[in-house]
């Protein structure tokens, strides 16, 4: 991605996030209308107003003084998506298949996503072996030593 494209992406991203923050402030102000106690309202209302002001100024500043060079930058998207989606899948599967089998999904996703070298038999055995050891170790620590009720 060239510099101007990155700048353009950064500008647009900043605008969208600033607008989202303004929206969050407005939603909060609306939500506070339903609170019965005045003490519950005063802090979120104050913070929401500060958020709206700061995010609005940031939004306007993007037009007046466009200096950002943000953006998603370089990197392989399918790896990012695979990592997060397998972690989400783990959460969904956890109540049905148990913690350890569900954890294997996240581990496999993370391993495939982070594996930039060529796969070889020794790699597969080493990485899966050490991964299995780490998972069982932590599962044992949390389940049987710390008595966390893992599903």
């Amino acid at each position: 991605m060239n510099r101007s494209a990155a700048n353009s992406q950064g500008q647009m991203g900043s605008l969208i996030i600033s607008a989202m923050f303004v929206l969050a402030g407005v939603v909060t102000l609306y939500d506070t209308l339903s609170y019965t106690d005045r003490d519950s309202k005063v802090f979120p209302q104050t913070v929401a107003i500060i958020l709206i002001i700061c995010a609005s100024v940031s939004f306007i500043m993007r037009f007046i003084k466009p200096t950002d060079e943000g953006g998603f930058g370089q990197g392989i998207w399918w790896r990012r998506v695979l990592l997060i989606s397998t972690m989400v899948l783990t959460c969904i599967a956890m109540p049905y298949v148990g913690f350890l089998p569900a954890g294997v999904i996240a581990f496999a996703g993370g391993l495939i996503a982070a594996m930039h070298d060529r796969w070889s038999l020794s790699n597969i055995l080493l990485y899966w072996g050490s991964g299995g050891f780490i998972m069982v170790l932590f599962y044992t620590l949390f389940k049987f030593v710390l008595h966390v009720p893992l599903p």
């Binding site: 402030g25 909060t28 958020l51 996240a106 070298d117 932590f138 030593v145 966390v148 893992l150």
Partner: protein, 501 residues
């Protein structure tokens, strides 16, 4: 009499318990999601069969080790192992990324031992008079203290103050989700049962700090951290030299940590942030905080470790626990039949002084133990292949987050916050102001609302907020923190312009 108690703390059993406690605490603290509170809660029943002083030494050593252990993940993975290590990430991770992770780990160890010693010595010599500080702090003082902590947002803004302030305000807004601090209104849940419990600080820490690192790690090939050709050991000599040069920073941060530790509810995270803010405010022109400045690590680590001794002051003298781990230790004391209160130092002197000496010994033992664990932690993190590191850390984030409230929903919230944090950080909205807002929001709200109610009832709102001496002092420091960098920057610009012309 005190020599007897010192010798009692040096028995082989007590020494072994102190060493075991420090090692166990350090390992627990280094795992994101596992906190000192959890480690203490698990081990409390074990201590019931012990002598009271030995039990206290074990609990104190675990607490000390856990607070220090949080620095490893903060430095090497940009994820605070415990909330106390939040500010350690600001300079620790940039140092690790440029190849100075070994130095950062050693610095954190030296600073933690120094801070821990200052806190423990304050507990030994100044406990009764210092406990009065806890009573002098009312809701308004807590409010201004949190505002002082929030002023650090300006320091973390990286030239984009409005984005940082918006992030801080958004973090405070997140802190209001769930049941209201003072009244019982349900806020910003939109009918979701999951959100009634609010956003847990540790859940948010893991999500906002750790997940973005993982997302970045998988996207590109190459090593996680820059390393020298031969990784040998942590750089003890360099770290010791830097610590000696920054002795004033260490002393000031440790005193701040002790004083903040005395305040019930404040804790290591607030102490670390306040000490970091002070270190940045008084920094020399060549120091670049937030970009891998060793003084930033030393300020945070000495302050958060000093809160251990500081927190025991109101716990033992007044029976008011400053933090959740203090509350567990207080519970263990009561089970052992020890009554806390001003007379405790005379009535149960043998137990209390043996415990304090044990705490000092545990803090000293943290130096070799911490450097040894630090060496292996650093070597492991830098040499482990990315294809093992990423899924292992991912698995740890899931199991650590789940264990906080035994909730799958928390894991989903953690992932959502992580992706959100990664996206907004790409466009200049850093995670740190959001986390600051999330941590300090409840303290600020409680102090503000309670102060408002009292001021309203006494018809003296202005006096309540601005008329109390401690409030005025904190407010003055806050204003200096906010205004001084702007003044110095303008002065520097003016001098630069004059020089050019």
């Amino acid at each position: 009499m005190e020599l007897d108690q010192f010798l009692a703390a040096l028995t082989p059993l007590n020494l072994a318990l102190a060493l075991f406690g420090v090692l166990a605490g350090t390992i627990v603290g280094s795992i994101p999601g596992l906190t000192a509170t959890m480690a203490l809660a698990v081990l409390v029943p074990v201590t019931f069969a012990m002598e009271p002083a030995s039990a206290l030494i074990l609990l104190g050593a675990i607490y000390t080790g856990a607070i220090y252990g949080g620095a490893y993940a903060a430095i090497l993975l940009n994820t605070p192992g415990t909330p106390s290590a939040i500010a350690t990430t600001f300079d620790g991770y940039p140092m690790a990324k440029r190849g100075d992770g070994d130095l950062a780990v050693a610095l954190a160890c030296f600073a933690s031992v120094f801070g821990g010693m200052v806190g423990a010595l304050a507990l030994l010599f100044l406990a009764p008079p210092l406990s009065k500080v806890a009573l002098a702090f009312g809701p308004i003082e807590y409010f201004w203290l949190s505002v002082f902590g929030l002023s650090l947002i300006a320091a973390l803004s990286n030239g984009n103050l409005m984005k940082a302030l918006a992030g801080g305000a958004f973090g405070m807004l997140l802190s209001t989700v769930g049941v209201a601090e003072v009244s019982a209104d349900i806020r910003l849940t939109f009918g979701s049962q999951t959100l009634i419990g609010g956003f847990g600080v540790v859940v948010a820490l893991i999500g906002l700090y750790c997940i973005p690192v993982l997302i970045d790690l998988v996207a590109v090939p190459g090593r996680h951290l820059k390393v020298e050709e031969n990784v040998k050991a942590v750089r003890i000599g360099d770290a010791f030299g830097l610590a000696i040069r920054s002795k004033f920073n260490l002393v000031r941060s440790s005193v701040i940590g002790t004083l903040v530790g005395i305040l019930p509810g404040a804790g290591g995270s607030v102490a670390g942030l306040v000490a970091y803010s002070e270190a940045k405010r008084t920094a020399k022109s060549h120091q670049k905080f937030g970009e891998g400045e060793p003084d930033g690590i030393m300020a945070t680590e000495s302050a958060n470790s000093a809160t251990v001794g500081g927190g025991f002051i109101p716990t033992l003298v007044l029976g008011i626990p400053g933090t959740p781990p203090d509350a567990i230790v207080l519970g263990a004391l009561l089970v052992q039949g020890v009554r806390t209160g001003p007379a405790m130092f005379t009535q149960s002197g043998s137990i209390v002084y043996t415990f304090i000496y044990g705490l000092i010994i545990a803090t000293i033992l943290m130096l070799p133990a911490g450097l040894l664990i630090g060496r292996y932690a650093y070597k492991s993190i830098v040499t482990i292949p990315k294809a093992v590191l990423v899924p292992a850390v991912g698995f740890m984030t899931i199991i650590g987050t789940f264990s906080i409230r035994n909730s799958v929903s928390d894991v989903i919230i953690m992932l959502c916050l992580g992706v959100f944090g990664w996206v907004v950080a790409r466009f200049g909205f850093a995670a740190s102001p959001i986390v600051l807002g999330l941590i300090l929001g409840p303290i600020a709200e409680q102090g503000f609302v309670q102060g408002w109610i009292i001021g309203d009832a006494t018809n003296n709102l202005f006096g309540m907020f601005f008329g109390r001496p401690i409030s005025q002092g904190i407010l003055a420091f806050t204003l200096i923190t906010l205004i001084l960098p702007i003044y110095l920057a303008r002065k520097k610009n003016k001098a630069h312009v004059e020089l050019e012309s």
